[in-house]
């Protein structure tokens, strides 16, 4: 490529590429590799898209049912509804079809109730057969891990083969320029990569129809194309540099092993050691200790609420709690829920912050492995990374706080204090201390959506930069390998 641009001749490039394809069709190994690559991407796309629709339907249905059940509850004491609680389900984003990301490892159901923040439960992975070691059956896995290996198997000999059969020097002697040769070989491999990406691009139509923006989808696809191009540059560089086919293949296989299998796990392991995160349980103890200072919201006589009572009596100019124009028990519940929630949220934010720090640390390994970079880009643009899970936790917490407080408000304003205090005297008294089921209309329909496409695109800029660096690095490397062409 040191020759000037005029000497790049598309016709010759095309001939070189066509020749390479001819060779592949005659080689059993290459044909098998190509077929495996195409079947794998095609079948995973079909299976994953089908599964995603089923999942979306299932969880959407469960969500609707859960909302209906809540609204249909009979007349009750409002605080009973606070503990009856509500279930929400996480529906995957459109691009989750091709890259489900952390979805299988996070719970997809969360129980929302008063005074507590529960964790998301029932991660799919917990029901796995314990057979998958490397990854799940997703187009993302196939393209991130298997596709580079197939490209290696097909392309390790693009230049080293010519050298071993001594055709390389003939080509050089006939005046074939370095740039033409290299670009021709690259085009041949690029065509293979595009073929493997084709099912993904086609599934993009389905993804778009599900409401994904063109911006994120393009960024997603560009990321994959860039990634496979990096591999093609690596393959051609090493094939050019290696003295023999054998050395070329061993080096490439080893490179693949390090970049695709080893690095991602080294990244998580180092992140785990370097950035320790306390679990939820430890935080729960700290929360419990803080909450004990607050007073028990179930007990309006708790010392912590005496001052609140005095203030309220003064404000309304009455002497007895019974004379207040509101239900003091409900008022206490309202106040204490707000305080508890602010403490719970502080710890929850803390925990999410710790998790993010771990993930950020692991993602820095994208500078050391393009696979790590692409995986991050893929998850972030698809909206299936840790950030999106945190978003789910925050949104559900919002939902929880709103409906609990609306119930507490009904408790304060619609239930008489004396009836409330007598609720346990007898069963008949318990019947009186209830409010109408109309008040249960406090939950809005919940449908989880990942963050806006622009936000996701911005998040993906760092891994994109990592990929561009890899691309540039090997592009330059290849440029400087001309001396090996002889």
């Amino acid at each position: 490529m040191k020759q000037n641009l005029q000497s790049i001749q598309p016709v010759i490039m095309w001939k070189i590429a066509r020749d390479e394809w001819r060779y592949w069709f005659r080689s059993k190994l290459a044909v098998v590799a190509l077929l495996i690559g195409l079947t794998c991407t095609m079948s995973t796309v079909v299976v994953s898209v089908g599964d995603a629709f089923e999942l979306e339907h299932q969880r959407g249905h469960a969500q609707q049912q859960s909302e209906q059940t809540f609204v249909n509850q009979p007349d009750r004491h409002p605080h009973r509804m606070v503990h009856y609680g509500h279930y929400v389900f996480k529906t995957p984003p459109p691009l989750g079809m091709v890259d489900p990301g952390v979805d299988s490892h996070t719970g997809n159901t969360i129980f929302l109730e008063g005074h507590r923040q529960n964790s998301a439960t029932f991660a799919d992975q917990k029901q796995s057969s314990g057979t998958t070691i490397l990854g799940a059956l997703t187009p993302a896995f196939v393209l991130q891990v298997l596709a580079p290996l197939l490209l290696v198997i097909m392309g390790y000999g693009v230049v080293s083969r010519e050298r071993e059969t001594q055709t390389l020097s003939i080509l050089a002697a006939q005046g074939l320029g370095y740039g033409n040769l290299i670009l021709g070989k690259i085009s041949a491999l690029l065509l293979v990569a595009m073929l493997m990406l084709l099912p993904l691009a086609i599934s993009g139509i389905v993804v778009l129809s599900q409401g994904e923006s063109l911006l994120t989808l393009s960024l997603f696809l560009v990321g994959y194309l860039l990634y496979l191009s990096i591999w093609i540059l690596i393959i051609v560089s090493i094939s050019l540099w290696a003295k023999s086919n054998s050395v070329s293949f061993s080096t490439l296989a080893f490179t693949w092993l390090v970049l695709c299998i080893l690095m991602p796990r080294v990244a998580t392991t180092v992140a785990g050691v370097m950035v320790p995160a306390a679990g939820k349980l430890e935080k729960d103890f700290a929360v419990a200790a803080e909450l004990r200072q607050l007073g028990d919201g179930h007990n309006a006589k708790d010392k912590a609420f005496v001052q609140l009572e005095a203030e309220l009596l003064k404000k309304h100019k009455v002497n007895r709690v019974e004379d207040l124009p509101l239900n003091f028990r409900g008022f206490v519940a309202l106040k204490s829920e707000a305080e508890i929630t602010s403490i719970l949220n502080r710890y929850a934010e803390d925990r999410m912050h710790e998790e993010l720090r771990q993930s950020f640390f692991a993602r820095q390994f994208g500078w050391l492995s393009p696979q790590v970079a692409l995986r991050t880009l893929s998850m972030l643009t698809a909206g299936t990374g840790l950030e999106t899970h945190h978003r789910f936790l925050r949104e559900t917490e919002n939902l929880r706080f709103n409906f609990v407080q609306r119930l507490n408000q009904a408790h304060t304003n619609k239930l008489n204090y004396i009836d409330d205090m007598n609720r346990n005297k007898s069963e008949a008294a318990g019947q009186i201390a209830r409010i109408s089921a109309k008040n249960w209309n406090v939950i809005e329909g919940f449908k989880f959506r990942s963050s806006p496409s622009k936000e996701r695109a911005l998040q993906a800029m760092t891994p994109l930069a990592q990929l561009l660096l890899w691309f540039g690095m090997f592009g330059l490397f290849l440029r400087n390998l001309q001396r090996h062409y002889s």
Partner: protein, 418 residues
Amino acid sequence: MMRHLVREWRFLLGQNNVVILLCLCCALSSFAIYSGHQEIVAQHFTIERLQLAQQQDQQDILAKHKTPGSLAYYQFHLTYQTPSHLSFAALGDRDLYPWKHRIRMLALEGQIYESDVANPELAYIGKFDFSFLISVLAPLFVILMLHDIIANERNKGRYELLVVTASGSVVLWGYKTLVRFLALSLSMLAPFYIGSALNDVPLYDVLHVSILVLAYLAFWAALTLWFGRQSIFAPRIAATLIGFWVAVTCVIPITGNLLIEKNIEVPKGSEILLLQREIVNQAWDIPAETSLTEFVKTHPEYRVYTEMSEGFHWKWYYAFQQLGDQAVAHLAFDYRNAILTKFDLGGYIAMFAPPVLMRRQLSRMAQTDVISALRYEQSIRDFHQALRLYYYPYLFELHLFDESTLADMPQYSDFARL
């Protein structure tokens, strides 16, 4: 024999790429053992901190709540599964299944599925531990190291000469292979031995792991050699072997997993929770005696104590908590059973996928797999049941509850199992 081995060892030292590969294996194994050890130390520390926090929490609760009803309501009990000696080498699924949990006397089905687990993004990618190194990476190292032993000689034109002059094929290829194989195995096992010493692993287990590892690597070595004789073209040998590796680490396990997923129906976990919630909450809307009558069917000894003078009594409250659990017991059982069935079926797939088999063997030995996770869950269930049996006589006011009776409260440590 020693003479041959020493000679081959010297040859080996002269080959840069082989030496580099050996150093890399040793470095990777050391890293795996070190990080695994760190992780387990951290887990032990976490348990210690939790125990300390639990003690503090207990004191506060006991000072505040004197009646059995409210004590049982507010007192959380800490449960945990201590990592085994060997778990540093196979961290297993402890980042997926919880190994620490707090429960109280309320309906257990509403609490037991809560899980405090590690960062899901890290868990999704997976950790690098000794079992991963051995089951997934080591075969590739064996292939890279042994595939061209014969082909190389052929390519360099020495093959015929060597075959004619050497006294036998064992002398020719056997010692060379043996030296490389032993060097590779030991480079990975040596750090494991250090880790074992640090973690007080019983000698028997160390031997067991060593034999497993050697047998597994020998399988890959034999495969590589057998294949290496079929062709003179080294890249073709390696590519085919790597293809086989991809088949047994990815294709077969993933396809098998898919088959299991599609054929084994797992009851939806959320259904357990939803039903349990209905039953528990319904109790407030139906006459208390209905729940209590239902309750004494399983605890006839309280038959004569079901009278309730007020609208609320703790005995009624805990009785319907138990009814909530009872109502979903079959679902919860099916749920666990389905997980176990899937895991067992996975065992059949592992027969065709040696890396999976190896990983399952190691995590079984280290007690970090699904079976151990389910055993831990069972220990929580047993403990919860014991708590109920402890509290009921006091809740139904057969006996008087005071400070002295606290000493008889069940402790989780008596129920813990690996």
